[in-house]
């Protein structure tokens, strides 16, 4: 799975740790596409019916392998009140091919989005991509100001 934080310009500075390397979508077609479709359909269904209110994702118009996701910054974190857009692209052999280490096929869209959401609030500052942001993290008040300064409200297009 490939995730590109930054569908809008809101890539939060604390997320790099979870953005995995890009991967070719048109991977091997050995896996039964039908079962992947089914899996994605049912993930969508459960996400819609029982999804956590802070996260959401939906396939793009005609391609169930390509989703748009939305994460709301958790309450009581510096990201409260902000909203981030993601693109999710699933390989044809989803969910068996690991996008990164420590992947399990039991993960699904919902758990991924929730992980990202919680990582926003508890980033791993020991191995940062954005060192400046990691340095600022210790001062939550300042960090909040920075978030507010850099945050662009996503347009509704």
């Amino acid at each position: 799975m490939t995730m590109n934080g930054g569908y809008s310009d809101n890539t939060p500075t604390a997320t790099p740790a979870v953005v995995p390397a890009k991967q070719n979508v048109a991977a091997s077609k050995t896996v039964d596409t039908q079962s992947v479709l089914k899996r994605l359909q049912s993930e969508l269904m459960s996400l819609m019916m029982n999804g956590d209110p802070g996260i959401s994702a939906f396939p793009e118009e005609d391609n169930i392998f390509s989703w748009k996701g939305t994460i709301h910054g958790s309450k009581d974190t510096v990201f409260e009140g902000t909203e981030y857009k993601l693109s999710l692209t699933f390989p044809a052999d989803y969910p068996f091919k690991p996008p990164k280490d420590k992947w399990s096929s039991a993960y699904d869209v919902s758990t991924i989005l929730l992980s990202i959401q919680s990582l926003l609030g508890e980033p791993n500052t020991t191995s940062p991509l954005n060192t400046q942001a990691a340095a600022l993290w210790s001062n939550q008040e300042e960090y909040r100001k920075m978030v507010e300064k850099l945050y662009n409200k996503p347009s509704t297009t």
Binding site: Q41, S42, L44, M45, L47, M48, M49, G51, S56, A57, F58, P59, E61, D62, I64, W67, K68, G69, T70, K85, P154, S155, T156, T157
Partner: protein
Amino acid sequence: MIIVGRGLGDVPFQFLHALLAYLGDSICPDSPSSGLKSPLASHPSSFYPGVDTPSEGLIRWKLRLEYFAYETLQDLRIAKLFDIIVDYPDSSPAIEDLKQCLDYTGQHSKLVDSFISALKYRLLTAGASTNDILHQYVSTIKALKTIDPAGIFLEAVGEPIREYLRGRKDTIKCIVTMLTDGSGGNASSGSAGDSLLEELNRDEENQENIDFDDDFNVDDKQAWLSAQRWEPDPVEADPLKGSRNRRKVDILGMIVGIIGSKDQLVNEYRVMLAEKLLNKSDYDIDSEIRTLELLKIHFGESSMQKCEIMLNDLIDSKRNNGNIKATLPKTSQAGDEVGKAEFSLDALDATIISSNFWPPIQWDGGLGWLAGNKEIARTGWDFWYLIRERPIFCAANGPCKSWAIFFMSGAHYTINPSDEPVILPELVDEVLSDYAKRFHEIKTPRKLIWKKNLGVVKLELQFEDKAVQYNVTPLLASIIMQFQDQTDWTSKDLAAAVGVPVDILNRKINYWISKGVLSESVGEDVNDHIFSLMEGSDSNRTGIHGASNDELMGDEDGDRSVATIEDQLHKEMTVYEKFIMGMLTNFGSMALDRIHNTLKMFCVADPPYDKSLQQLQSFLAGLVSEEKIELRDGMYILKK
């Protein structure tokens, strides 16, 4: 006018005079003269007898004049077309005029434009009832069929009407009523004793050639015949609307076209049928069977299967009812005068339904139930009850199976199967259990589960001077029976006695108050009203004497026993609501089409998305009014 300008002689003027005189007479389409054949049509060229061999110029003039005459008549008819169609079929000669004129002039598009604007101005307005619009639609189809057998212009003219009707909530209901219900209780025109379906059927028997969607299995001979009859589409035909071959003016098809699919129509019919059957006070379903047979012809056996099972339930019920009564020891009926306190099964008729095949039955705590047909003797007050009623049961193989129906029909009702909400008078209850026991003996292992909230109670109240009959719901019967033993009740006590919430009781009891049987007063506690039996004098009971003895069920608002299509639809749609909210969260704003397509594409689980664009639109409008979403410039967005 051209003619005047060219300075022709008197002849054209004489003709014009004759023409105008004729038209003057027949402007009103239902005047007697319109029944005559147009003189234009029958003698198009006999109006200047003095000339033997007309010159070329004269022939040209003759043609021009003829054209002008046809055109004039055509314009006149077109201008009045709306009224002509209102009066159809009485106005058919005017339609015949129009057809001949149009055949000559070919100005069909004029007709289409003018008629559409008349429709928009006169018919498709908020003031017109859906029934009227539908009747006009059907008349339009019938009338224009003569002019335009291929249905090309009809397509153009009908579209605005269909479009408009799709926006009305009661369209399906009106269509089903119009199709199936001959007497058409709400046909404001009061026309037609026959249902439209009967009429269509008759028409088809007359023209053996027409067979509903049977185009595909015609045999070779017929195919050859129809090939020989082939004619090209008129130039006005819209090539996008498919080949003329499948064009045949099919009234039913055009009506179904308003709704989009026959399934919806069949579903609506099923709900109406259920309601009708549940409110019957006998097993007479001849007319329903006939309607069903007609519907089967048009929609196919398989679509009507559930309806057929429902009717079979009634037939089986009648047999079972008879069998159960046959197990009773014979008692002498003659001796049973009013005043006898003994209850028997004799007067109890049960309808046993296969609940899986019926539409969801509404559980409304407000509908109480009673059962039993009986004369109950009472003492103390001056009336008697005669209860004749028809409770409805569910039979299922397992005792609790049919209860699932209650849960299905609405999330706001929670009812425990073992916790019967309506309390019936003991006598009635005993008869019910007796009936159920006998049923079980005959039909082991099946068991009856009574749905005490459904049915009709025929009740007779005996006053000092008069006996009055009422047909009421079991709850109402149960309420009034409480007054046998006690003349005054507080609303709380009475509600507890009949087993319904106080607010429902207060609403329902108005029936008896309005009939002058009970009176209401405010007790010590403002919230606890006191209901008392009206005593004595005639003046208090004028309501009773004035009332007919066959009151309707008092089901004005929301007391339907069957969940309406709208209810069911709305419930399904709430599943889609989550999808819609989900997609709007992620895509920001979306147009109706895109939401529709996205649902079609991704909402494939159970229940799959199968709604029409119109249904979706009205559902979205609902979400807008609930302030969950907004509609801005044709795009739906989440309400923040």
